[in-house]
């Protein structure tokens, strides 16, 4: 019998590799696929074309008032955004004090970026800065009245500034509060359990508008005369409580997914309730519900526009407010303003969404 010789590998047939093969497999495999591919492409091209026409080709890019945006076939009216950008970002924050807001944005950015990069060093300092120093700094800088900084009433804040203040406070408060509520809801002590259930069910069952309205209109009625408590502050508290009730249910979903064996193994090693919760249960539970947590954050970010109901102007509110400016009254002003606000909201939400996917992948440990 002949000696066995291993067969040398041959390259795959040309018809199964490369771009052509990919297209045949994924785009044109059956007559149905061909039809879908063609129809889909036509739709995408038509949509892209329309957007391009509107946003670039037929758009106006410079001008000082409405006359810049009154061409026939007028597209987007970008000069409107350009002229109002300061208002959209800072609201009626006094011109001379805007550097204070910029400083707050800058420090927030500088603190957040290394926080989000898992390999950046000094995480504990970073957390201490973001949760301890930064809120105090922000409060002093934005409201003023200390260290010779002129006072700026919160009624003058507006635009992206209000959106970010409300959203960031809601996000920063809702996670820890939500965790506490979720743990409380599973507590063995009935008093704690029922308090938490009551809180969660009340805030979850009521629309955010109602919470904000109560916070801004009803609450002062219960406070003694002369106690005046800032309107923005009341909204912040309302938003934080509302979102923590949602967060609690998201976190509880994660807690329920932790097998009993994890608790037993921790107990058998001598770890008590708090250490087990902190070291074993929460890291696993939170990782499981990252998509739900970020979903809640995104919902909260967009819900901040509801502060309009109590007379605060967030980004969308202030954009809408400027539609009434007669010197910019054109048929395209509204749509341009809404597209701008939409793109800003979308950028923040999309960034959160991508970051959550990045963290999920990073934290996956092969199970």
């Amino acid at each position: 019998m002949a000696e066995w010789t291993p067969k040398p590998p041959r390259p795959a047939p040309a018809s199964s590799v490369g771009l052509g093969a990919w297209a045949r497999r994924n785009l044109f495999a059956t007559p149905g696929d061909v039809a879908l591919t063609v129809l889909g492409s036509i739709f995408i091209i038509w949509l892209g074309n329309m957007l391009l026409d509107w946003a670039l080709i037929n758009a106006s890019f410079s001008g000082d008032d409405r006359t810049a945006c009154l061409k026939p076939e007028q597209g987007a009216c970008w000069p409107f955004i350009d002229a109002k950008l300061g208002q959209f970002i800072y609201g009626r924050y006094p011109e001379a004090e805007i550097w204070r807001v910029n400083l707050v944005f800058l420090f927030g950015f500088a603190g957040l970026v290394p926080m989000l990069v898992p390999s950046a060093p000094l995480k504990s300092f970073n957390i201490a800065f973001l949760l301890g120093l930064y809120p105090v700094f922000t409060f002093i800088m934005l409201t003023g009245g200390l260290f010779g900084l002129p006072r700026v009433e919160t009624t003058d804040w507006g635009g992206l500034l209000v959106t970010l203040v409300v959203a960031v406070t809601g996000i920063a408060a809702s996670l820890p509060l939500g965790i506490v509520l979720a743990l409380g809801r599973r507590s063995r002590l009935p008093v704690i359990r029922y308090l938490c259930i009551g809180f969660i069910e009340v805030f979850r069952g009521v629309p955010l508008i109602t919470v904000l309205f109560m916070a801004s209109v009803m609450l002062p009625l219960f406070l003694p005369d002369g106690v005046n408590f800032d309107k923005l502050m009341r909204c912040l508290i309302g938003v934080a409580l509302f979102s923590s009730a949602y967060m609690a249910e998201v976190v509880r979903g994660g807690l329920q997914a932790i097998p009993k064996g994890q608790y037993e193994a921790a107990a058998a090693l001598g770890l008590g309730y708090w250490k087990t919760t902190r070291l074993i249960v929460l890291p696993q539970a939170l990782k499981l519900v990252i998509p739900g947590i970020v979903n809640t954050f995104i919902g909260l970010f967009k819900d901040t526009t509801l502060v309009l109901i109590v007379g605060l102007f967030d980004l969308l509110g202030i954009v809408q407010f400027h539609f009434t400016d007669a010197s910019w009254a054109t048929p395209e002003t509204h749509i341009t303003g809404y597209v701008f606000a939409g793109v800003v909201f979308w950028s923040f939400c999309f960034a959160m969404s991508r970051y959550s996917i990045f963290m999920e992948n990073r934290l996956s440990t092969g199970r």
Binding site: E264, A268, L269, G270, L363, T365
Partner: protein, 246 residues
């Protein structure tokens, strides 16, 4: 045999799940260094009995004293007992979000307040002892079942327990992995560890047990030396059980 030698003493233990009387008048003393194997049909209360020893289950009547500490519901006693008693589970119960090394170093650091370097050195030592020195940086999900159970043994050993409880440690494993875990357990036994082991591995029982206990319906039916237990059991129920498993 003196009182001082008894590391576990269980007297008139009774336990109910609701109205179901799961453990009935259990009496058992274990001397330091002794190896006990518990067997019996499914549902006979074997797991419940050993889980009472570190109070993963709370008993209603009777007395359990472990290493001189009475399990009476006081939190201080409970923590003292748990840090002296290691336990192995059928499902391993490793912490999936931590590496093998972190799994092992966790309890020494957080229960014994040991500095990290020291705890990790300890972890490396015991990982070598269960013959997986090179997997320290992996996550449990990346290991085979047999390797995971050996990590669980190393994790328990890192607390330098006086007693180890095993609840069917090999019954979730594929046959070829059972041996690697049993080998480690035999070594532990030879090193003088006090062990209480619920298992149906009769070969292991013959090889290392000082006493074999047969349970049925929440009672200890027979307690015997392994030789006698397998060749000449005293009770008919034991005979019936052995005829089914051997």
């Amino acid at each position: 045999m003196t009182e001082d030698d008894d590391i576990i003493s269980i007297q008139n233990l009774n336990k109910w799940f609701g109205n179901f009387h799961v453990l009935r008048d259990i009496n058992l003393t274990v001397r330091s260094g002794e190896k006990i194997v518990i067997c019996g049909p499914s549902g006979s209360g074997k797991s419940t009995l050993i889980r009472c020893i570190n109070r993963l289950e709370v008993h209603q009547e009777g007395e359990i004293v472990v290493n001189g500490v009475r399990l009476d519901g006081s939190l201080k006693n409970l923590e003292e007992v748990r840090s002296e008693v290691g336990m192995l589970f059928q499902q391993f119960n490793l912490f999936p979000h931590m590496t093998v090394l972190e799994n092992c170093a966790l309890a020494p650091m957080w229960v014994r307040q040991m500095p990290r370097e020291e705890a990790e050195a300890l972890a490396h030592k015991f990982l070598a002892r269960v013959r997986i020195p090179h997997q320290a940086a992996k996550y449990p999900g990346q290991l085979s079942g047999g390797q995971q159970q050996r990590v669980a043994i190393a994790r328990a050993l890192c607390m330098s327990p006086r007693v180890m409880l095993f609840d069917e440690p090999t019954s979730a494993l594929d046959p070829e992995m059972i041996k690697e875990v049993l080998d480690v357990m035999v070594e532990l036994a030879n090193d003088g560890m006090t062990m209480i082991c619920v298992t149906h591995e009769m070969g292991f029982a013959r090889q290392v047990a000082d006493r074999v206990i047969f349970m049925d319906d929440g009672e200890i039916v027979e307690e015997n030396a392994p030789e006698a237990f397998f060749s000449d059991p005293r009770s008919e129920r034991t005979k019936l059980f052995l005829s089914q498993v051997l």
